[in-house]
Amino acid sequence: MAGRKLLIENVHIPGIETFDVYRKNGGYASVEKALKKMTPDEVVEEVKKSGLRGRGGAGFPTGMKWSFLAKPEGVPRYLVCNADESEPGTFKDRYLMEKIPHLLIEGMITSSYALGANVSYIYIRGEFMYILHILEKAIAEARANGMLGKNIMGSGYDLELVVAPGGGAYICGEETALLESLEGKRGNPRMKPPFPAVKGLWGCPTVVNNVETIAAVVPIVNNGGEEYAKIGIERSTGTKLISASGNLVRPGVYELEMGVSVEEFIYGDDYCRGIANGKRLKACIPGGSSVPILPAHLVTKTANGENRLMTYESLADGGFASGSMLGSGGFIVFDEDQCIVRNTYTFARFYAHESCGQCSPCREGTGWMEKVLHRLENGHGTMEDITLLEEINKKIEGNTICPLGDAAAWPVAAAIRHFREEFEWHVTHPAEAQTRNYGLIQPRVEEIKAL
């Protein structure tokens, strides 16, 4: 059973990208309800009750984030939508904004009202320039229909929406780097505290939320937070957009109720329909490139032998020893022919390229990791190199202003943790490693016991 969809149910309706069709299909009901029948605090209360957690990757409770927003007299407050979508493996926000742009605009209006913002921004990665144009068209339509501007729906509430592009920088997905970029500067993350909720855009209190998070506010306000919280399991409430990529029969964007099993998601007819070309599963990165990779035997089951579910808790079951994270929902699947060393190298190269350079552990460490992994991948590595990678990892992790350092360190650590034999094989069989891939990895003895 495919389950309920709260966000992208209507994407296939012809013309849904236009205001009229979107409105006819129930669009902007949350704006009407919030502005006419609810106080801003009541909207915040519903979001708290919903249990919604940030969909950008960190999973922080949205209602709580909103309640931290400082409200000094006479100082403007801002809502900034993070549409930077730059975590490798993640392409869900692009899909949502392209197919059903008014859902984001509606969420922005309802959320801005809740936060008391009269100007809100959507910061979108520069590569998505065509989506910036889609959003600006939707904003113009919304404005022409009285959903933006002065005195929206006669409520006395005013709101302007502005879309601003980035210029190609992964780091601008980090909220303080995003704010720097939105101020027209290099995307160097800020020291926290102060947090954006106190000092954000131009020094004013600011909430930064991911596209999907803001879109989810629409069904939450429409149906009530409690209804939303009934979907899902434990603290993973509601639905989640998953971007599925890699060696799958049917990669793409899926909306699923939290709690679908990983096995069903990979193999089920409603979802990815299994591994492409009849191959076997080798590994999976379930939440975007920054989260730990899992070997096949830990993808569909936890180390305790329980079914692994698509929830924050279940994907993290086992900690970093045998679990991973839901992250941004960037679900990357590897078949038996993929080289884990090569993949780890491409991600290390990515982080070295994207480090902003402020903190030396990250700036230097990511460069070292790239070089060492390049050596290993190309048959010039030594056993000490594997240990060296682990050492560099420990020196980066936790020692940087922003999480990019951790994001660069964790995938390398996890790849070595679970695929050490494959790294060692690159050292012991350098010539062979250039001509073929290592293949599937066998579960280790201690892991077999647990299974």
Partner: protein, 179 residues
Amino acid sequence: MHNMKIESPSTQDSTPIVFSAEMIAEINSVIAMFPEGKSKSAIIRILHIVQTHYRWTSVPAMNAVAEILNIQPIEVYEVASFYTMFHLNPVGNYVFEVCRTGPCMIVGSDDIIAYIEEKLNVKVGGTTADGMFTLKTAECLGACGYAPVLQCQYKFHEHLTKEKVDEIIEAYRAAQFVN
């Protein structure tokens, strides 16, 4: 920031640039999107406008942007050099930026890059002799489910195969480049 960009601004031509009236109007409409006194926020979008017009972001063009925003030229250079989309050196009529990060790599982006190099007789970073194409690689373009992917002048080309690359190159060769 040694990692992010290897490009330093070209110094080959320092002749001042004067933007056209249309460009100035477009730039002013971007500045108007931000509160008074916050015009610097417009800088990235202005650089996109400049690059769309001139194909690359030259020092004289950045100086002109600085003048409009009433900021020091260095404030423009430091932004342009931070963001990878801005080409600080001359490029061909069409710039192919082929994604090479994990999700694209595992479905064959390495082969696609090698094929384009061979087909256009150009190495990554180079421009074809006729000045038509520049080949670059990119880190994650956010289209992983439709990999392998390349982007050319903001347009995404997805599910790349060698045949599809042939078609794309032919289409760009046949198109009249308007700029």
